[in-house]
């Protein structure tokens, strides 16, 4: 019998409720955002972590972090992960690429060892950054690892499309 899914007012044997069954739930159902996730000091997270809400890290994280909200890396935190967030504030140590879709704030205590891609960046004096920085545009692409040096191997060289078109025209004439 599908009892649990039945409406509360359907039970004919029960006394008439004095409160309308359509009364609002006493429990808040959050539709706007997920509750905040906190990784406190002394706790280690390993693996692929995804969240739709804000994330505060003060402990240790290894793997990947992905959130649609604000990511805050505390001053004592150690993050060895690829980080993707809508907004990010970094005050601790990050080893890995950082992609902030909107705004990245790097505090003076921060140590970032990896490529950074963001739309807007704020860097406080004293922060240490090591890696490529791309900012000022929409950040659809993930940060790429360092580009390889051009190779001397003729088979590996590529011709730009415009040059290729010119070469085709010359061959036809």
């Amino acid at each position: 019998m599908p009892f649990f899914g039945a409406p509360a007012a359907d039970n004919g044997q029960q006394p008439q409720p004095s409160v309308a069954p359509s009364a609002p739930s006493i429990f808040h159902t959050s539709s706007k955002a997920s509750p905040a996730t906190v990784i406190a000091k002394g706790v280690r997270l390993e693996g692929q972590f995804k969240s739709q809400g804000d994330v505060l890290i003060e402990g240790e994280v290894q793997g990947t972090i992905q959130t649609d909200g604000l990511l805050t890396v505390g001053a004592d935190a150690f993050v060895k992960a690829t980080v993707t967030a809508a907004d990010a504030v970094v005050a601790g140590k990050v080893e890995g690429n950082v992609l902030a879709k909107r705004r990245l704030e790097v505090k003076s205590t921060a140590r970032v060892n990896g490529d950074i891609v963001c739309e807007t960046i704020i860097v406080e004096a004293g922060a240490a950054l090591k890696g490529n920085l791309t900012s000022g545009s929409k950040t659809d692409a993930k940060p790429e690892p360092k580009t390889e040096a051009p190779s001397n191997d003729p088979q590996k060289t590529t011709t730009p499309p415009a040059d290729a078109a010119k070469a085709d025209a010359a061959n036809k004439t």
Binding site: F3, H28, V38
Partner: protein, 271 residues
């Protein structure tokens, strides 16, 4: 008598000091037209068999009379029965009653009569349901969540898996029993010199809790883990834990609408 109601009395209510309170409750219930079948929990009587007996007799609403421990005696099997849960708290502790918005004593009868029914998620630890939380103290167990990531306490600490309840320092309830999620709360051990331990506690008061939300996971450890789910003791090397959404129908009070997930400053039971 309304046969769709079954009242399950805890055995401590046979104590003469609760005689007047129980008599007053029964009078009030009769006035409201809520009198029903009566069963009594005793030391050597299975709570599951007693409740199932009343369900077979036609009870649609099981009302527990006692305290939070009475709830814990039936909560591990009740969600699988086609019944609505009612609760009349008569004695302390009544923390769960507070969370559910049910006042202690006679006013609980009015809450029961109002029949504001909510459907709650239930946590499941192994094959046992829990309403509030499963707690593992002083453990080094790892918690693997949603097949995606693992949380661990390298220096050990306390671990709680909450379905309902828990209040933050800001007075906000932390675990919502209708969100389809469990909340893992981890508090690592702190190594501090003895001389500074008290001073730091007095001065800092900082929150060192980890909060992560998940649907299912596994707690595992190389050494045996001991804990309790809704005050029931559990022990083992590995436990599967998950949330079962919309599993338990409960009659609740309206008064705790603010107290459950809002500002609890006016609620003396939430410190």
């Amino acid at each position: 008598m309304n046969p769709s109601y079954a009242f399950i009395y805890d055995d401590f209510l046979t104590d003469p000091r609760y005689g007047d309170a129980v008599a007053a409750l029964e009078t009030r219930l009769a006035t409201l037209g809520l009198s029903g079948q009566i069963g009594r929990l005793t030391l050597f009587r299975s709570a599951k068999e007693l409740v199932e007996h009343h369900v077979h007799q036609g009870a649609k609403t099981i009302v527990l009379v006692g305290n939070d421990n009475t709830l814990n005696k039936v909560m591990w099997f009740l969600p699988d029965l086609p019944v609505i849960l009612g609760y009349l708290p008569v004695a302390e502790p009544t923390d769960i009653a507070t969370l559910l918005g049910i006042p202690p004593g006679l006013p609980a009868c009015d809450t029961l009569g109002a029949r504001l029914i909510e459907t709650l998620d239930m946590g499941k630890l192994g094959d046992r349901y829990f309403l509030t939380e499963a707690v593992f103290e002083r453990t080094r167990a790892k918690l693997a969540m949603d097949d995606a990531f693992t949380l661990s306490l390298p220096r050990g600490g306390d671990m709680a898996l909450r379905n309902l309840g828990g209040v933050s320092r800001l007075g906000q309830s932390m675990a919502n029993a209708r969100d389809g999620l469990l909340e893992a709360v981890l508090v690592p051990n702190r190594e501090q010199p003895l001389s500074t331990r008290i001073l730091k506690r007095l001065s800092l008061g900082e929150d060192n809790e980890t909060h992560v939300f998940f649907k299912s996971g596994t707690i595992a450890s190389d050494s045996p883990i001991e804990g309790h789910a809704d005050l029931f003791a559990v022990s083992g090397f590995e436990f599967k834990v998950s949330v079962v959404p919309n599993k338990l129908r409960v009659i609740m009070g309206r008064g705790r609408r603010v107290g459950v997930l809002g500002n609890n400053q006016n609620n003396p039971n939430h410190q």
